[in-house]
Amino acid sequence: MTARLRKFLGTDTFLPYWLLLPSIIFIGVFFLMPLFNAILLAFRSDAGSFTLDYFKKMVADVRFIEALKYTFFLAITIVPLQVVTALAMALLVNTGFRGSKFFLYIFALPLGISDLAAGLIWLSIFTQHGFLNSILYALGIIDKPIYYISYQNIGLTFLAVVAAEHWRATAIVMVILVAGLQMISKDYMEAAEVLGARGWKKIWYVILPLLKPSLQSALIIRTIFALQTFAVVLALAGDIIPVLSGEAYFWHFLYRNSHIASAYAVFLMVISIGMTWFYLRFLRSRMEVIRG
């Protein structure tokens, strides 16, 4: 009996499940358990009863509204900028001019650069005696350094963060779009050309609708990560610009309060799910309109 059972378990019917087992256990321990614990930390008081105190404390904190505002503004500024830039890069490379492969790799370089490093890179540009001020001085445009990063110039500080994040994470969007462009069948392109679609018309009426699944993936991935923007802001702007992830970090790291840190984490998760749902719904219905 055991021998037969062992033989049965060793067949191809069970093999895939054995192979999946480690990752399923891993997902259980490192995704589902933290999710469960985060909800407990955020909603359960030390006495063990359900409470909204931590959320109330989170919302009442002076930096919460600011953090929510800046996180939201960063996301809605950076993501569209990235999609437009990445689309331009991807379409350029897709024309297949001589050397396009080589330039594609250069465009993809920031993919390997962390948010912290990107923040530091752009700090060397935007700091008081940094490269931007030096260049403007050399061109005779300014004679005193401009303070891009300071409480007095929050608008400029915000733009500095946008510049750094735009620079760092456009590559991911571009790679997704290039992969999407490569999957578009040549037949569509030929048909479009036979029917007289050229240049912008071809891009607008043929390529973009076919690229929609890739655009959707890129938008979802980028928005979720843009909502978590953290180290770029900290490296470039210190605590001048509060963001949600940064608040979770400060509550855990400085104030040693994992309840409120978890409340922030759960809040971020809820926003991420909401945004994903919005994109899936919004973009799908648009696609049906185009098909219909």
């Binding site: 990752s23 933290p34 930390l41 700090l123 050399a138 855990h252 984490a265």
Partner: protein, 273 residues
């Protein structure tokens, strides 16, 4: 060539050049900042190029308290992450690539959904759990959470890699007397090796770059990004610039090595959505 054609070519190359400069110039800036003599960083007006090439700043960075230690920690964490991720993720990738079984699509969906988890949602509760388990402030603890973050990528990438190895070859080997495991080890594995190496390097880069979880989960055993982040307000500008440059050196190198696989990876990720 006709006139409009030349005009179009010129426009094309000019736009390409603009993007190239946009990507490369900041990297160039951090590079020269790291090799500028320390006192020149604060000079005004600052010359665009340093007066001379100097390793003074780099040396200061590497000799600063805690840097060398955190650098070693980073390498260990990244290597552990790489080992864990491949050990856990590659079998799953193989299963999804080779077999049709009940729950396959569900598993793939689940893997994709895990990518939406904010890092804070994993790191904060795991810090509490790890204190109980004795994994808080250990390199293994950090490597485990990095594995969790790299796992979705690893499964997606290895699925693509094993799909690229023809099933027929393995079946032929089994017909010729190889066991299932033998066929995998002697036929599929060697063919998948370059792809797996690329996946390994990608995992290394994910771990090397990660800062939020590494900072939350450690106190003394910081990784390099965690060390730089926690000391950032107190460190001089030249320390930060040298740190930034040092952190991107290995990743740029790895990204160059695996450049051919990048599109394969993300293309696969998109196709499965």
């Amino acid at each position: 060539m006709s006139y409009p054609r030349i005009l179009r070519r010129t426009l094309l190359y000019m736009s390409v050049l603009t993007f190239v400069l946009w990507v490369l110039v900041p990297i160039f800036f951090i590079g020269i900042s790291s090799f500028t003599p320390r006192n020149e960083i604060y000079k005004w007006p600052k010359p665009l190029l340093p007066s001379h090439f100097s390793i003074d700043t780099m040396r200061f960075f590497l000799n600063s308290y805690g840097v060398l230690n955190s650098l070693l920690n980073s390498v260990w964490v990244a290597l552990l992450t790489l080992a864990f991720t491949l050990a856990v993720g590659a079998p799953a990738g193989y299963a999804v690539a080779r077999f049709y079984f009940r729950g396959r699509e569900g598993f793939r969906m689940g893997i994709l959904i895990t990518r939406m988890f904010p890092t804070a949602l994993l790191a904060v509760p795991l810090a509490v759990t790890f204190i109980r388990w004795g994994l808080y402030d250990t390199l293994i603890g950090v490597a485990l959470i990095h594995t969790a973050m790299a796992l979705p990528f690893a499964v997606i990438i290895t699925t693509g890699i094993f799909m690229g190895v023809p099933k027929d070859l393995e079946e032929a080997a089994m017909t010729l007397g190889c066991s299932r495991l033998g066929a995998f080890a002697r036929v599929a594995l060697p063919l998948a090796l370059p792809g797996l190496a690329a996946a390994a390097m990608f995992t290394f880069v994910i771990s090397w770059n990660e800062v939020f979880a590494a900072t939350i989960l450690t106190v003394h055993n910081r990784t390099l990004p965690a060390h730089i982040l926690t000391t950032i307000q107190a460190s001089p500008l030249y320390f930060r610039f040298a740190g930034g440059f040092f952190m991107i050196l290995p990743t740029l190198f790895f990204m160059f090595l695996i450049r051919r696989y990048l599109f394969h990876m993300w293309g696969g990720a998109t196709a499965e959505r």
